[in-house]
Amino acid sequence: MRFFEYESRAIVAKAGIPVGKHGFARTPARAREIAAEIAAPVVIKSQVLSGGRMKAGGVQFADTPDEAATHAERVLALEIGGHMPRGVLVDSRAAVQHEYYAGVVWDGIRKLPVLLFSDMGGIDIEEVAERHPEHVVSAHFSTLRPFADWQAKQLISSLGITGQALTRLTPIVARLARLFLQYDMTLAEINPLGELADGSFLALDAHMDVENEARPRQRALLAELGVGEQETRQAREPTAFELAGEEVDAQDHRGVAGNVTEFDGNLGLVIGAGGGSLTLFDAVRSCGGQPANYCEIGGNPSVAKACGLAKLVLTKPGVDKIAVMMSIVSNTRVDIVARGVIKACVELGYDPAEKIAIFRIPGAWEEEGFKILARYGVDYADRSVSLHEAARRAVERIGPQSAPVDGPQHDARERV
């Protein structure tokens, strides 16, 4: 879950990292007040969860409070990347002598956070890494042991930074690493980290992402920042279909049957199992199939929940059939899912044998599950059939899509 810049700034300040005078405004009048309090030239920055603010005109410079209000009015009305701004950040303009970059990201391959530092800040770190790799240093660190200052100092000094700059940068970078751990972040970035004429440093911009699954652990922080429980902070607003998926999943505590993403194909998917959803989604596409949705099912949902998800997918306009597929399950019962999807077909007046292109869920209670499927004439596959082969059979069974259905077009990984 992404934080707005003004929230990231608050997190950074809370961690003891110096930030410049700033304030958050939802109205031009408030922007004027903040600019007057700062009593110096300011920058008005649109607060949207989207890149390209500068290019879109979402960052404006003002020398007076009145000018700040005028710019704020314009920026507040400016849509950027399909998003209207939450407000504007009124930020003091610092006389920066040099810009650095400090960041921590989660390395999914090493399964460790990695601390990144560069003496070329103010531009994308990816660009620096590509064009000037000698200006970027990095080091993984433990999530179990407390982060020590010397770890930051060692990294910064490896770029040749010494003396006062090294002394002052060390606690800032160490605090950034600690806040990353404390708040279950997946990204904590200060860019630029500005060095002022007097040798002090200020975090001039910050980006923070907290792990979605950690939201319950971070309730206190979210409450402090005023982040609502229902705020998903996704790349786009959820569709009615996706919201209905959330309702299905919320209907009881048992298992998962949701995390739905809408696509415009004709093959509905009821898929899951520890990464199986993405694998199966990709398998369907690689076989030439057109998924109508992405979703996740697992953790032994109730029959009602599996039924609700299957009904949602089956009633999506343009869906001809559904494919019910998971990798081998141990904590989800095959018979329960089978009951759910068959019940959905029957209650909607469909023949399960016709509507379910394939059922490939081997694992716990599969004997009972296969009995149920056989009873209703549903084509099912056991563990001897690979996920890819099951996807191929489903695609073959449904045939080519006659005409595209209106709907969002995007990649599953945008939201999952």
Binding site: S302, V303, I336, R339, K343, V346, E368, K371, I372, R375
Partner: protein, 82 residues
Amino acid sequence: MSAALFIDVEVDDSIAGDRELAAKLEEVCPVDIFRAGAHGLEIVSENLDECVLCRLCLDASPPGTIRIVKLYDDGAVLGAPR
């Protein structure tokens, strides 16, 4: 009339009015198929298909007084020899 597709539960008349047993069954069933009503044991028909075949109700009641019927398996009774 039951709307269940997969599971039916048959209760012997001898325990139908037993409120103590009804309360026990309500407590042990993980998917709320049994309810202790004013007149004894009631079956919550909308939950029948949620039955996880755990046998806790069979263990909690006198032998042969509750039958879990698998409608998808030619009426096979849970725990009964085939």
